[in-house]
């Protein structure tokens, strides 16, 4: 092969002439009237030699560059900076016997010295704090407005699709129902079961003190059917689904796929938002029911083990004493939570900009917002039902 001769060249000239850069050192010593630099003045040797260079004194500083083997831009910058500073103090730095390539580098560095043009920010005044507050408030109002716009868009397209059913994307809807609903059944069922167990256990400890063990059935039934079943399901779905909606729509937005859809006369609202939000509207109440059932099951099991309330007794107490209103109250919240989660997820996806960080930021903020808004809505429902006396 042809590698033999060139390897010889390497071994003789290259390794000998080019010691590893790690050992670079620069030296400065007195020479005649001025000073002389030797060694390698580079970014690696600069920290060591810089104090000596900066400390050069006298009205006319002469620096002999002949013995300097190596100069890089950092070294050249140090010299140019010194030259400039001395100039301002009406003193001079003369570089003598500079090698042509070093001179070219020095000139290049001197030419491209950056010119700072940034203005200093004035300190924050009292007024600015108010301004920031005002801006944040306006931003929040705008955000709420944008959420309503998204909700309105969804409803408008839904009505449009009812009138033009041929444009409805059934496959997408089924796919999202599968993703959001069917695949979430195990976690939702397990969560409901465990909540039932915990409630029964905690309730039994407290109620036993009063000899009112049987009321554990009411405790479990009311708290799960009315509040916890649907609320905790919505929180889990918000974490699972809002993030996946934002990530899916956001990455399409990032790669201009949504713009491409628009140019192809496909309405992103019909293609992306309606199937997603509708899927949530359909499956969230079902998931909530599943959580209710497994919650009651877990509660009944714990009541049997802990308090000796047999399943038959649990069932008859449940059927006799618990009003169907509780189930309805819980069930009514489902679609509202679904809308909140779906709208926030889709809206955050559309807010993604051109880079990957905004995708990550929007995804996590979508989850936080969705969970927060679900809890706020739940609180409003409680107030409403309390006033209505249901």
């Amino acid at each position: 092969m042809s590698d033999a001769p060139s390897r010889n060249i390497d071994d003789t000239s290259l390794t000998a002439a080019q010691p590893l850069r790690r050992s670079e050192r620069a030296h400065m010593h007195k020479s005649g009237d001025g000073w002389a630099l030797s060694g390698a003045l580079t970014v690696r040797s600069l920290p060591e030699i810089l104090p000596q260079i900066e400390a050069l004194s006298g009205d006319l500083v002469a620096l002999d560059m002949d013995a300097l083997d190596m100069l890089d831009t950092a070294g050249a910058y140090a010299l140019v900076r010194l030259q400039k500073r001395l100039d301002q103090a009406q003193r001079r730095l003369v570089l003598a016997r500079t090698r042509p390539d070093h001179a070219a580098l020095l000139e290049r560095v001197a030419q491209s010295l950056p010119k700072p043009d940034t203005v200093q920010q004035p300190p924050r005044s009292f007024g600015q704090i108010f301004e920031t507050l005002g801006r944040k408030t306006v931003e929040m109002v705008r955000f709420l407005g944008a959420l309503h716009a998204m909700l309105g868009l969804f409803l408008a397209r839904l009505v449009y699709l009812i009138r033009h059913p041929s444009e409805f994307r059934m496959t997408a809807l089924v796919h999202h129902c599968d993703q959001v609903g069917w695949k979430a059944v195990p976690i939702v069922a397990l969560m409901g079961f465990l909540i039932g167990v915990v409630l029964a256990f905690q309730g039994s400890v407290q109620l036993r003190q009063f000899g009112a063990e049987i009321f554990v059935v009411d405790l479990i039934a009311i708290s799960i059917l009315r509040e916890l079943g649907i609320l905790l399901t919505a929180i889990i779905v918000a974490g699972r689904t809002a993030s996946s909606y934002t990530a899916a729509i956001g990455s399409m937005k990032m790669r201009e796929e949504i713009d491409a859809m628009r140019t192809l006369a496909i309405d992103p609202a019909i293609a992306l938002f309606v199937p997603r939000i509708l899927a949530l509207l359909i499956v969230l109440p079902i998931l909530g029911m599943i959580a209710n059932l497994t919650g009651l099951l877990g509660g009944a099991m714990m009541a049997w083990i802990e308090l000796g309330i047999s399943p038959g007794m649990f069932l008859s107490r449940l059927l006799d004493d618990t009003s169907i209103d509780h189930v309805i109250v819980g069930f009514v919240k489902g679609p509202v939570f679904a809308l909140i989660i779906g709208v926030i997820g889709c809206h955050a996806g559309m807010q993604v900009g051109g880079n990957a960080e905004s995708l990550g930021a929007q995804t996590s903020s979508a989850v936080v917002r969705a969970i927060f808004m679900v809890i706020v809505a739940d609180a409003l429902f409680s107030v409403f039902f309390a006033i209505m006396g249901i």
């Binding site: 060139s6 060249i9 970014v43 910058y77």
Partner: protein, 258 residues
């Protein structure tokens, strides 16, 4: 004969059963600007990544600065890496840092430099790459594609490397920006004594900056030589590449300007 800084012998690169490079030899000499051309899928970027140490080849030897770059201790490989800089296609800037902080990263890694000096050196590199001062405070996402490339170059040059790898430096730039970038590469390689390994599709860049051209075809470096040499090669792909309508236009413009 000029000194060889990169010496590739018998390089084999394979993805599954697909062999991209088979017994590839290439020499890069100190101080030259080497342009690597080849059709899509001939493994130009793979070759760049192989030399830069991002992808170990399945066979062959790589010697950089006379040292075996494949079978050497980690610390020596790092020493070699510090003498090389890579500019990726879209800059590959760290998106959570400003441009100035990006350029400061290699300087910070080196240690020993105080904050102020590091900042000034970063500003100098940014200015030398032809970016305005305010670009240093910007985040990569706020810059145009051409500015990102320049910022990527500034970071690659932060430690004054001896070899710079440029992956499609002018792809996606407008003609004015592209020719400005060509001039920048030429000027920097002259004043800093850089060795440049350049992967490109751009015939104007080849004309304007490259001292030597290496053609990748049939899984190896088929030909190396100057632009003039390339015009007399009979290989069908090379002929088509350097005699196609685009090539003719590029050559004519250059001759008119000369």
């Amino acid at each position: 004969m000029p000194e060889t800084v990169i010496e590739l012998r018998g390089i084999v690169n394979q993805f599954g059963t697909h062999r991209v490079h088979d017994n590839l030899d290439l020499d890069v000499y100190r101080g030259e600007v080497l342009g690597v051309v080849g059709g899509s899928g001939t493994g130009k970027s793979v070759l760049l990544r192989t030399i830069a140490g991002l992808r170990p080849p399945q066979g062959g030897s790589i010697r950089i600065f006379g040292q075996d770059a494949l079978n050497c201790p980690e610390s020596e490989r790092r020493a070699i890496d510090m003498r090389m800089g890579v500019m990726f296609q879209d800059g590959a800037l760290f998106s959570s840092l400003t441009v100035r902080e990006n350029v400061e990263v290699p300087l910070r890694n080196l240690g020993g430099l105080d904050r102020q000096l590091r900042r000034e050196l970063a500003d100098l590199k940014i200015a030398m790459s032809g970016l305005p001062y305010f670009a240093g405070d910007k985040y990569p996402s706020e810059l145009s594609g051409g500015m990102r490339k320049r910022a990527g170059l500034a970071r690659a040059l932060a430690l004054d490397p001896e070899i710079v790898f440029l992956d499609e430096p002018t792809a996606g730039l407008d003609p004015i920006g592209a020719s400005a970038f060509d001039e920048l590469i030429k000027a920097l390689s002259d004043t800093l004594g850089l060795t440049v390994f350049l992967v490109t599709h751009d015939l104007d860049t080849l004309h304007a900056t490259c001292d030597r051209i290496a053609v990748l075809a049939e899984k190896r470096v088929m030909y190396t030589g100057t632009m003039q040499d390339m015009l007399h090669i009979e290989h069908p792909w090379v002929h088509e590449y350097f005699h196609g309508p685009r090539a003719r236009a590029a050559i004519e413009t250059l001759e008119r300007n000369a």
